[in-house]
């Protein structure tokens, strides 16, 4: 009775419950370390001065946005193929965090753009691709929101998630082509080789983002599981015992 | 054919629509040549059960078997032997009666000739209306355009009909009930819901009664936990 697999809603609910807060707390700690490394330890950049430092957040969040979309799509595929309830729930839990990462990448990219290129937005390949990825996330979330029946919403989102993930590389390629074609002034972002301290800071930031993702996803997942499984025995027991 | 494998079988079907549990642990089986009536008050899930039977919906739990195999796996092979006339008519307003019947039979994989289509329309009381745009027909006439397909469907073993007698006049009702009886008695299975008392002279009859979660059929009772 106590050894329910974590790959069931009930098991995952308990498992995620133990880990959510620890993940978020460690995320905060690791993020502080990353900030310290990136903003105080790492040297000033030769060409960009201090303004480059926001790249630590920008690059990390851009990576996360892409990775999470792929991860989301994997869970979508699993959900459609195995028809197990848990997988689409995880995909749905990941989506808002992924969207947040994409937005963060856009915002920090824009903030970096101002001192570097003199404009808050430029239509270079990276930023434009990030914007489109953000739209992909928004589409997923909007569809999830618009369909009241969560069973149908899950399946519909799985389809759009899979179609999206197939198309993301195509879109990236297209935007790259479009940009090199139309670009008069070529805007390369940090073409210089990366200092080891900078790399460390970046990776630590990525680690912080991962921890945050786990924590936020676990928390969200618990909420989703409870909402959907509220009719099940185990959920009602927990509610009666006050242990939700 | 082995008699031990029922032609149609429902095993432990659980159906949830939105937040409502309609029924669970629903079991049923029947052989060829049976007329099955699904009875119960409005809102108990009769239409949902029909949609589960034809494969438009999947049950939360349980299996539906046709000739011993799951319809989920049979897919097109099952659908080739099925005619479903649901709550919606399934006819296009902008097509003529004949065009509707022809395309319905095409999609259902039993194409028929124009002449045969006209015969079917005649049998259903629409002689003279073959070239009428369906929008110009009355509710009952539109229903009959949909039902005309049954007269070309003797090959399809399973007929699933949702309230087929609604909006039909007395003559049409009698016609349809005879057609259904004929199909059942020659080895087909017809599953229907109707809130009208229509006598159908089929040799073998079954009833599944839905009562909002408690299934009464074949004198078995299963209690449902409060959800």
């Amino acid at each position: 009775m106590t050894s329910t697999s974590i790959f069931t809603p009930e098991g995952m609910y308990r498992f995620a419950g133990k880990l959510a807060v620890p993940c978020l707390v460690s995320a905060a700690i690791v993020a502080l370390i990353a900030f310290y490394l990136g903003f105080f330890v790492a040297p000033v950049d030769v060409t960009q001065g201090n303004s480059y430092r926001i790249l630590y957040i920008h690059v990390a969040s851009a990576w996360m946005a892409m990775l999470l979309y792929v991860l989301m799509a994997i869970f979508c595929i699993l959900g459609l193929v195995t028809e197990k309830k848990l997988w689409p729930m995880i995909a749905a839990s990941l989506a808002p965090t992924g969207a947040l990462m994409a937005f963060l990448a856009l915002w920090t990219g824009s903030l970096w753009g101002r001192p570097t290129w003199g404009a808050y937005w430029v239509w270079d390949a990276r930023l434009t691709s990030a914007l489109i990825l953000f739209f992909f996330y928004l589409g997923y979330l909007a569809l999830q929101n618009a369909i009241p029946d969560w069973r149908r919403a899950d399946k519909a989102c799985s389809v759009i998630g899979i179609v999206g993930v197939i198309n993301v590389p195509i879109v990236y390629f297209s935007v790259q082509w479009w940009n090199t074609l139309h670009q008069g002034a070529s805007l390369t972002s940090s073409g210089s080789s990366i200092h080891p301290i900078m790399l460390t800071a970046l990776l630590v930031m990525v680690a912080a983002f991962w921890l945050y993702t786990f924590g936020a996803t676990f928390a969200r997942l618990r909420s989703i599981i409870l909402e959907r499984e509220k009719g099940e025995e185990w959920a009602q027991e927990l509610a009666l015992k006050g242990e939700l | 054919m082995s008699q031990s494998v029922p032609q149609l079988e429902l095993k432990d079907i659980k159906c949830i629509r939105g937040e409502r549990l309609l029924f669970r642990k629903l079991n049923f089986s029947c052989q060829e040549g049976t007329l099955v009536r699904i009875a119960g008050p409005n809102g108990t899930g009769k239409t949902s059960l029909l949609r589960l039977l034809v494969g438009l919906m999947s049950p939360q739990e349980g299996k539906i078997l046709w000739g011993g195999q799951e319809i989920k796996k049979l897919k097109e092979d099952f659908w080739k032997e099925l005619v479903y006339i649901g709550h919606l008519n399934g006819v296009k307003d902008e097509l003529t009666a004949r065009e509707n019947l022809l395309i319905n039979c095409e999609i259902g994989e039993h194409p028929i000739t124009s002449e045969y289509a006209d015969e079917c329309l005649k049998k259903v009381g629409l002689e003279g209306f073959e070239d009428q745009i369906t929008r110009a027909l009355s509710q009952g006439q539109r229903r009959r355009v949909a039902l005309a397909r049954l007269y070309a469907s003797s090959h399809a073993k399973l007929w699933v009909l949702d309230e087929p007698f609604v909006a039909l006049d007395v003559a049409a009702v009698e016609n349809l009930s005879n057609q259904i009886a004929e199909h059942v008695n020659s080895g087909g299975i017809v599953i229907l819901t109707t809130h009208q008392e229509v006598p159908i002279s089929a040799n073998k009859k079954e009833v599944i009664t839905l009562k909002g979660g408690v299934w009464l059929g074949r004198h078995e009772m299963k209690k449902v936990k409060n959800v």
Partner: protein, 222 residues
Amino acid sequence: MFRLFRAVLIRDLTLALRQKSDILNTVFFFIVVVTLVPLGIGPDQQLLRLIAPGVVWVAALLAALLSLPRLFANDFADGTLEQMLLSGEPLTVIVIAKVFAHWLTTGIPLTVISAVFALMFDLNAEVTVALITALFIGTPVLSLVGSVGAALTLGVRGGSVLTSLLVLPLYIPVLIFGAGAAEAVSVGVSSSAYFLIVGALTLFSLVVMPIATAAALRIAAE
């Protein structure tokens, strides 16, 4: 299988021709949008010649979006869609037939009308040919990809706006390369790569999208 394809194709074409307002609305919208651009930007001939391919393509995308609901919404409402789901033939065959009919009544008219825009924007013959060819090869993508969005949002509140959000990001590749083809010709650069890529996108969509659309239709009917 081909018999069913043909039957569904003729069905959809017949329906479209009997309900001409759908096609005409799409075409008029296309014309109006393209006409608005010079009014918004100014009649600078040089500038207009430069932006013409992009403007025509964007307008085509929007017009295609506008026409998507009629792919499945009507059939969904009157019950003919669920009959298609119960067909003895694979659903993808029916989907491809319907999408093909949609392209014939959307993409083709748009492609033809764009020749007129070539005049309006004073494009030379080569650019015009490139524009029309790219549209001809690329508009099937609009119908194919659009069909996924249309199927996913069947019966959902706020369907068409939601469809736009789902579908427009997916239209971006064909937009970039389709418009790029004519732009390349107008600059005097080789455009063959563009046409090849647009063709590849069409083939790719033809293989992948009907499967996604069929899955989405089944989900919508539950």
